[in-house]
Symmetry: C2
Subunit: 333 residues, 2 copies
């Protein structure tokens, strides 16, 4: 294992310390328990949005804290759920009285701990709604998950709900919006290499020099099948078929597309993937209204990519275009 | 070699086609010869800024075309200089009569071809100034270079000069500014793994499981020395010493810092590197006025990072803060 780290058990803490030093205008990093708060804390009258999950998926979630996106993020250790008290403290820190939306990726530990946190919050007088993202079409159940895993649609949900909260949507409206984003978002990923969890020190799984894992999870969980390596055109065609088929996309519809790198894949390849995806969408008569291309929900240094398509209407596109100012995503400001 | 590509000889073309499909509001990709033009072409009254070089360093340079940065980029094949006619055509396409600034990284082929292009431009009545970036403190001469190589300061020079051109700096002022940025910028890189040029199909160099290359070039050129792998703290201390020493940074000065991933290094590690760098600068009494953390000048999928420090004054920081809207860098708009 070669990584630009110090001790494995300090990776998350030191990386967050770097985030805090880099972006004091955007975020405050709290410890004991650990959460990343939007600089300045709660915004009067606005619903607070909190997300979180295991670390190792950077910039998700801490990189999405700031105006127009998250009010707080709760990072667990690498690929480990945050604890209920992290989530409860973060929720308290962002609640202005308008309530708090939890955006939760569907992993058993995350769901359980967010549920416990929500109960603690409610006992303390904070209104909480939670929406679970389960957009990964690869497999029905998985290593850490009952039902579908939550992956790329989470990034889109955080951006869109973050914008809506700034516009003044109330908690019920936001929960409905987030549910609608989840219902209309689908993802699938492929891995060309494994990743190595620092504390483990060895690759999470073995993969041959001429193989790819189709339907990989963001923690290296097994996907649908191990396939021989093939050209980008064939890989993206399979990925697009899986996503568009499950979503039931029809001619004339429009989407927001995320072509996401897993952490070890360079941008030059992601634009080749986008090229293939755009041609497929064009042939299907599906318009790509907006797109995001880069490494936004990663699996440490894994090589590979995922594709997320979100069926979009004018409301979602408008919210997408609203200003955002976070360490990892910024426009309009 | 496992990459998300089709045929190796189509990598650059297909990636640029993806860029064009993704960002039609920002860039136009021209072929025969290949160059990437700011959407809408020349800006009346403004000096045009053209850069370029081998591909494989994405998002540099094509990802920096747009308002507030480059007017055109000339991508060569992977790690191969662009041809004089690419550069000449791009320069013609951006010249509004105010002249054209060429920002050139110091590699023998790039310098030669930009010089030939400048002569062709001048013969055609276009005023051209060229500034060569040579900020890599690692080695004096290198595989493809006489003198120091041009690396991370190029990104900062393109942003700062792009802003100045929008403000109305004339060609002489811009060339002076770019020369000043180069004179005050220093970089050094480390590699943990090699990269693989698609057409070669095998790693550019061999490196052991417990080794790092200190002073790596962005094409995998040898650096200062092969060292045993060590913690981030020790690596960053060596890097910072090399850069701050060469720059002669003194207590009370301020810098713009770039912590750059080589393509295969995840953000969680880059923030650990930034954490170490920020602590070193603080101990030295050097202020980090602005910072950029991410993969901005890459070497395909190489794992590793580089650090660039630019001694900054109010003019440079002000220009840094000006709006920019390109595929890879965006703020203030």
């Amino acid at each position: 294992m070669k990584k630009l780290i110090n001790r494995p058990q300090m990776v998350v803490r030191e990386s967050l310390a770097g985030l805090a030093l880099a972006h004091p205008d955007l975020v405050e990093v709290h410890t004991d328990p650990t959460y990343v708060l939007r600089a300045g804390g709660r915004v009067p009258g606005k619903v607070g949005i909190v997300s979180g999950g295991g670390s190792g998926h950077e910039p998700m979630h801490a990189g999405y804290v700031g105006r127009g996106m998250l009010d707080a993020a709760c990072p667990g250790d690498i690929f480990t759920s945050p604890t209920p008290d992290q989530i409860e403290q973060a929720s308290r820190a962002v609640d202005s009285g308008a309530g708090v939306l939890h955006i939760v990726k569907n992993y058993t530990g995350d769901v359980m701990n967010f549920e416990m946190a929500a109960e603690l919050c409610r006992a303390g007088g904070i209104t909480v709604e939670a929406v679970v993202i389960n957009d990964d079409v690869a497999v029905r159940d998985s290593l850490y998950t009952a039902g579908r895993r939550g992956v790329g649609t989470t990034v889109l949900a955080e951006k869109i709900c973050g914008a809506a909260a700034e516009r003044g949507y109330d908690l019920q409206q936001l929960a409905g919006l987030c549910t609608r984003v989840n219902a209309n978002g689908r993802s699938i990923g492929v891995a060309l290499t494994s990743c190595t969890v620092p504390a483990a020190g060895r690759p999470t799984f073995e993969i041959g020099e001429a193989e790819l894992e189709f339907g990989i999870g963001i923690h290296g969980e097994p996907g649908r099948e191990r396939l021989p390596m093939q050209p980008a055109q064939a890989i993206v065609a399979m990925m697009a078929r899986a996503v568009t088929g499950d979503l039931g996309l029809r001619r004339g519809e429009q989407v927001i597309a995320l072509v996401n790198g897993m952490g070890g894949t360079p941008l030059i390849e992601l634009y080749i993937v986008y090229h293939e995806l755009a041609r497929i969408c064009q042939a299907m008569g599906v318009g790509i209204a907006r797109r995001l291309i880069g490494s936004y929900i990663t699996s440490l240094e894994m090589a590979g990519c995922s594709i997320t398509l979100l069926r979009a209407d004018d409301e979602l596109v408008g919210l997408w275009d609203d200003p955002v100012h976070t360490p990892a995503l910024r426009w309009g400001v």
